[in-house]
Amino acid sequence: MLIVRCPYCGDRPEIEFRHAGEAHIVRPADPDALTDAGWADFLYNRTNSRGLHRERWRHTHGCGRFFNAVRDTVSDFFLATYKTGDPKPDLGTLEKGSRA
């Protein structure tokens, strides 16, 4: 079982959390102007990274809040978690550093 660091509550076991998909997918600013291909990209297409991946988690059985994480999808190792709205961490620096 993974230990996930909730930015609000600290280190907690994985079963307290729900994975909530890829992070930083921005809702279209002008939906009327969006093409069908644009909608498909927003709704369905995913980066599905092999390696460092930015994703959303929700501390369902804790504070209940969403937050973002950077996880290596090959090792499942969390490199960072950060609050929703915080700037994206730079993947290059994370890769060199240890767990933030």
Binding site: M1, D41, Y44, R46, T47, N48, R50, T73, S75, D76
Partner: protein, 416 residues
């Protein structure tokens, strides 16, 4: 060498020392007519049918590991075709009909065993969904029948139909033509068959880039064993499809999750059929070696780790122990994970892509093994003729843009 009772007998009296290698281990040539990326069951079947049905034998199947070492060797080998929608029934039943003659077709014993697949209903919602499936399947000519709990017990005696369980068995849907097959033998049989037609199966050869010409069409692939030119490239890389397609500049509607399975110590024949319980995530059958083959639900986060979380398998084992109390003291021998590529509508993607000459067959998610022969058959037809076969036409990549989804997410009766 053609396999028969006579070759078996002659090999037996010479101490089984004379069996030839079943396929060659060729070095990659500089160019092929078609390159298939991924030597799992689907990729090898594609190469086999390209050679046999379309006469295209200048084909390479590239595999970064060893053939059949991905999801082909990691699944729980359940075969059925009782899907809800017409499009799904067509492709899965096409596959099931090919399964029925596959050992003879390949001259290779794939141990297809149509022992019946029983899907258990535990809630009122399950009952309604499964009965809807039974009727939809009947209209599509696919066998599927509703059983009462007592009939389920008669069909599968180890089953606990007590009302005192957390999720009592309220009935089940049985597809008698469904069953299981030997997963390795499917990969080996197709590999031997394709090799016999002159197809090169190249293992330990990882694709690192897709080359395109000035017009944007596919020109070949770069691999860890050098560059290989080809006008047509078919990607059949299951959980790693997003990675390969990104090399061609295409974002896919896929997410990759670990799916875990485990086997018990071998015991004498005790379990006569395949039982699936989607509501409580338990999939079980007994292999010819005697091991119980048990499948879990997908893990909760995307990953390429080919492992999974212990609490996911624990959940499945608890369900198995409640449904089949006689297995409570059985020890588990091995567990593992495979990486499955899941689409938003839980239906596969088979067809052309925006890049000319690049074809994709992916998105089989948690249930690709059952489709292996049909998938390879229609994908070979798609590549050979540069247009989708009628059976896989609805499973295009464009359906996500056009909104024509084939929504088996709820309909596949799998609780996602």
């Amino acid at each position: 060498m053609k396999h028969s009772i006579f070759t078996l007998f002659s090999q037996a009296i010479s101490g089984h020392q004379g069996w030839p290698a079943q396929w060659r281990d060729p070095a990659p040539k500089s160019a092929y007519d078609v390159v298939i990326v991924g030597a799992g069951g689907h990729g090898l079947a594609t190469a086999y049918y390209l050679a046999k049905e379309h006469g295209i034998t200048n084909v390479a199947v590239l595999e970064k590991g060893w053939l059949g070492g991905g999801n082909t060797g990691r699944n729980t080998t359940i075969i059925r075709s009782n899907y809800l929608w017409d499009e799904s029934a067509a492709i899965y039943d096409h596959a099931l009909k090919l399964w029925e003659g596959l050992s003879r077709e390949l001259n290779y014993n794939v141990m297809f065993s149509p022992r019946g697949v029983l899907m258990l209903a535990h809630t009122v919602h399950d009952i309604q969904v499964f009965k809807r499936h039974v009727h939809a399947n009947r209209l599509n000519g696919v066998d599927n029948e509703w059983l009462t709990p007592e009939q389920c017990k008669a069909f599968c005696p180890p089953l606990n139909i007590s009302r005192d369980m957390r999720y009592p068995v309220l009935g089940g849907a049985l597809q008698r033509r469904g069953g299981a097959a030997r997963h390795d033998a499917v990969a080996w049989g197709y590999a031997r068959g394709a090799d016999g037609f002159g197809v090169d199966i190249i293992q330990n050869c990882e694709v690192t880039a897709i080359r395109r010409d000035a017009s944007g069409a596919v020109a070949g692939v770069e691999t860890t064993r050098g560059e290989i030119r080809a006008k047509k490239v078919g990607v059949v890389a299951s959980g790693h499809t997003s990675v390969i397609m990104a090399m061609g500049g295409i974002r896919m509607p896929l997410e990759s999750f670990p799916l875990q399975a485990l086997v018990s110590e071998p015991v004498k024949p005790v379990f006569p059929c395949v039982v699936m319980s989607n509501t409580i995530h338990a999939y079980i059958s007994q292999s010819d070696k005697g091991e119980l083959v048990i499948g879990a639900g997908t893990d909760v986060y995307t990953s390429y780790s080919q492992r999974g979380a212990l609490h996911v398998t624990t959940h499945t084992i608890e369900a198995i122990c409640e449904l089949f109390p006689m297995f409570r003291r059985l020890r588990m021998l091995r567990n593992w994970g495979g990486i499955v590529d899941v689409t938003p509508d839980r239906s596969p993607i088979i067809g052309k892509t925006p890049v000319p000459g690049l074809y994709v067959n992916c998105g089989w998610g948690t249930g690709g093994f059952k489709a292996t022969p049909g998938s390879g058959h229609v994908f070979a037809d798609t590549i050979a003729n540069d247009r989708p076969h009628p059976i896989n036409a609805p499973f295009s990549l464009e359906r996500f843009r056009e909104g024509v989804l084939i929504d088996e997410a709820a309909a596949a009766a799998v609780a996602h």
